[in-house]
């Protein structure tokens, strides 16, 4: 019996030992034999705070061409920094035993590996100072444990600030090869122990692959780190907040801005899935801009400004049926890859006689001006729509017209004699339009201007500045204001405002809300299109058709330089003096649209301060030919056939 009991106890003991042995084996396997799971632990120490970010939303043109995207660049940190600082101190103290590796040695090795240049003495000294300060503040309990590497350290307003060090992807790869994390070109691994404590952190950086193309619309996203807490303990900016400065980048900043924050990152393996998708990524934007039309517009604008020896200019191409802005060009244009050049460009755009130090990011939506004669289109539209005049109404021009105590003259006081309303528009007769406005009367005239949204922002989805229109009752409004407003003086508009107002003539009397975003692509892939919306209908379709015909005929009779072979187009030139009218400088402009029977595009060209040599200060000489150049290219890109072909295709059953 004793023997049997002993055997059973042994068996039971053996059975009990099995799980114990298994546990010990598992521990041994985990500790001694490398495994994939344990390797993963290398990159997941516990506990940690991690930097997470989503890239800023991308911006595309209407056909999917990328206008703003994101590149990666890398911050570099040195862990266990205190040991390297200690080594530096030991070396400086002249101890006999050389310290293992100093901070300067790490930096030198890093420079050699990556090819970047660092002011080693300056950076080392600033980190030592920071370490010293930290020690003093904590009575020696703390030292600088992680250092952010910098290119240099400079003193700004009495504070030492580091110039951040960013590695390009290739440089970061070289560092990782040297650290043994990646194989070299031959597939071999190396380990440089001096670089062992360096680690990198990837950040997104905005990039604009088309450089200056549509820069006025796209805008610029600027990195700033000025908020409280943005700077880390060694003076390097910890967070760079990407904020849109102007254009779409600014207007849609909330939609485009990605998450960028430090979060507590769980590394308990079974909880890891909690880390997933914690930040809401931003949306992408598809613009209404067509980059080919935009490029054509910019090239033609540049030619026009240079040919006119002008200071600046702008071109706007919109689709009257939808309000979509197909191109919006400024000259000079900001090169988004060269932020250092912005100030000069904005100064050139903003330098006006009454504001020589002004800064303007966009002439089309941010720089109101006196439109001059292109405004006559609105005056005539109001008069026709209210039946104050008809196309056949006769006006006898004597070269001047007195109203409200002022005498209105034509350009060079020239009398045009007997004219019908088409002749008034063709010859751009100031006196005629002042007379038309006087017949309308202030009440009706300004009612119509309100319907055309003159003096109000157009509501475009861009940071916008509105022009100004004085009305009866305003302190500085007099009867004579009505007469001058009639031909575009004493009123200010942005090119976009006047283009949208005139687009009613090209779109059966309806003004469509202008917009530059065609659709928003949400992070879940849902495409949210921006639907065309009507702003108002200031005039009837019949009036629009009548005026359309009048303006087409006036270009044909005049044999305007704006005529486009193969297409019937309508339009109006403008030559406006620049307030406060102290010199002979003008703004030459032209607004045109076509094809007249079904207008698909409306183009507004503005050239500021062209030379007066060779009559180049006139819109008919400087701006109208640019329309004739640009319109056929836009027709070709949009696939709009010439009138004859279109009629043939329409007649084909």
């Amino acid at each position: 019996m004793t023997t049997a009991l002993g055997t059973r106890v042994k068996i039971a003991g053996a059975v009990l030992l099995v799980p114990l042995a298994a546990s010990v084996l598992q521990l041994a396997r985990f500790q001694i034999w490398p495994s994939q799971a344990r390797e993963a632990l290398y990159t997941s120490p516990y506990p940690i705070t991690r930097h997470i970010e989503t890239p800023r939303g991308r911006i595309f043109d209407r056909n999917g061409g990328l206008l703003a995207g994101n590149l990666s660049h890398f911050r570099v940190y040195l862990d266990n920094c205190q040991t390297y600082l200690w080594a530096q101190e030991t070396l400086a103290a002249g101890n006999e035993e050389p310290p293992p590796v100093t901070l300067a040695r790490v930096l030198a090795e890093f420079m050699q590996t990556t090819g970047v240049t660092i002011n080693i003495p300056g950076v080392t000294q600033s980190l030592q100072q920071l370490d010293q300060t930290l020690r003093e503040q904590t009575q020696g309990r703390q030292r600088l444990r992680t250092c952010t590497l910098a290119v240099d350290a400079v003193e700004v307003a009495g504070q030492v600030q580091a110039i951040p060090l960013w590695l390009e992807e290739g440089q970061e790869t070289r560092l990782r090869i040297a650290q043994g994390e990646l194989p070299d070109a031959n597939g071999a691994y190396h380990y440089n122990s001096i670089l062992g404590d360096l680690r990198t952190e990837a950040w997104f950086a905005r990039d604009y692959p088309e450089a200056s193309l549509a820069s006025e619309v796209v805008g610029y996203s600027r990195q700033s780190g000025d908020r409280a807490g943005d700077r880390g303990e060694n003076g390097v900016v910890r967070f760079y907040l990407e904020t849109g400065d102007w254009g779409v980048e600014s207007y849609y900043n909330d939609i485009l801005q990605g998450a960028r924050e430090d979060i507590l990152w769980t590394v308990v393996p079974v909880e890891i899935t909690r880390n997933m998708d914690r930040a809401q990524p931003p949306a992408d934007l598809l613009l209404t801009i067509d980059r080919e039309i935009q490029a054509e517009a910019e090239a033609i604008l540049r030619e026009g400004v240079e040919a006119g020896e002008a200071s600046r200019g702008s071109i706007l191409v919109i689709a009257p049926h939808t309000g979509e802005i197909l191109a919006m060009a400024d000259y000079p244009a900001a090169d988004l890859t060269r932020p250092e050049g912005f100030e000069e460009v904005f100064h050139t755009k903003g330098r006006l006689p009454n504001d020589p130090q002004g800064q303007v990011t966009s002439l089309n939506v941010g720089a109101p001006y006196e439109p001059g004669s292109i405004f006559k289109v609105l005056t005539m539209a109001a008069a026709l729509d209210s039946a104050t005049v008809t196309p056949d109404t006769i006006f006898v021009d004597e070269g001047y017209f007195e109203y409200g105590g002022v005498v209105v003259h034509n350009w060079r006081s020239r009398p045009f004699g007997v004219q019908d309303m088409t002749g008034c528009m063709q010859n751009s007769i100031n006196t005629c339009l002042a007379w038309v406005a006087s017949r309308l009367g202030p009440q009706l005239y300004y009612d119509y201007m309100d319907r055309f949204w003159i003096g109000r922002a157009s509501g475009v989805d861009l940071p916008e500045r509105s022009g100004d229109l004085r009305r009866p009752g305003d302190l500085d409004w007099t009867d004579s204001t009505l007469a001058t407003n009639a031909f575009g003086q004493g009123v200010s508009v942005t090119p976009l405002q006047i283009a949208v107002a005139i687009s009613a003539v090209a779109n059966e009397g309806v003004m469509m809300a202008p917009h530059v975003v065609r659709s928003i692509v949400r992070p879940n892939g849902v495409v949210q299109p921006v639907r065309p919306v009507a702003l108002s209908q200031p005039i009837s379709a019949r009036t629009a058709s009548t005026l359309n015909e009048m303006l087409a005929r006036s270009l044909e009779v005049e044999q305007s330089a704006a005529l486009v072979p193969g297409y019937r187009v309508a339009g109006k030139t403008g030559t406006a003096d620049i307030p406060p009218y102290i010199n002979t400088k003008t703004v030459a402009s032209f607004v045109g649209w076509g094809p007249v029977d079904d207008p698909q595009i409306l183009i507004l060209i503005r050239i500021d301060e062209p030379t007066s040599e060779g009559d180049r200060q006139f819109g008919s000489i400087t701006a109208a030919p640019l329309f004739a150049k640009l319109a056929p290219r836009v027709f070709a890109i949009l696939g709009i056939p010439p009138d004859q072909v279109r009629q043939q295709l329409a007649a084909t059953p």
Partner: protein
């Protein structure tokens, strides 16, 4: 039947038996063993499933890292591709090769019934979280006992 030979009913005999100690011990041992084995089995199961979950979690983490790296590269490659496809570059190249902008009057227009407007070749949204890569600790915090011994024997390195 002879009644005299019939045994008389007597007082009931009570016989006391005592279970053999080895049986009691065996039973106690068996019960204990069952309890221990049950506990061990439960613990083993827990450890096993826990280890599996941990391993899966680590793999998930590794995959998240890989995914983020790839998405980061894709994002950058899109920019690089856009730079190569820049419209300015195309225009300059076209001019260099002697091309001129077409006059619409020279174009041949063909009416295609029920044609569909071209949709933008759009590469989809960047919908996924990006996380930075690689946080390194000193080797002392992440190496095994064996690696530490080997490293110590070879002469150290960084702390």
């Amino acid at each position: 039947m002879n009644p005299a030979r019939t045994p008389r009913p007597g007082p009931a005999r009570v016989r006391a038996y005592r279970e053999a100690p080895w049986r009691m011990q065996t039973r106690a041992l068996a019960i204990g063993l069952v309890a221990v084995l049950g506990t061990a089995a439960t613990l083993s199961l827990f450890i096993f499933t826990g280890a599996q979950a941990a391993e899966a979690g680590l793999q998930v983490q590794r995959l998240i890292g890989e995914r983020d790296t790839l998405l980061r590269r894709i994002e950058a490659q899109q920019v690089n591709l856009a730079q190569l496809n820049s419209v300015t570059w195309y225009f300059d190249k076209a001019r260099e090769l002697g091309f001129e902008p077409v006059d619409p009057r020279e174009m041949t227009f063909v009416q295609v019934p029920a044609s569909i407007e071209a949709t933008p070749s759009y590469l989809g949204p960047s919908r996924i979280l990006y996380v930075d890569e690689g946080i390194s600790l000193a080797p002392a915090y992440r190496e095994t006992l064996l690696e530490w011994v080997v490293r110590a024997l070879r002469g150290g390195g960084q702390p």
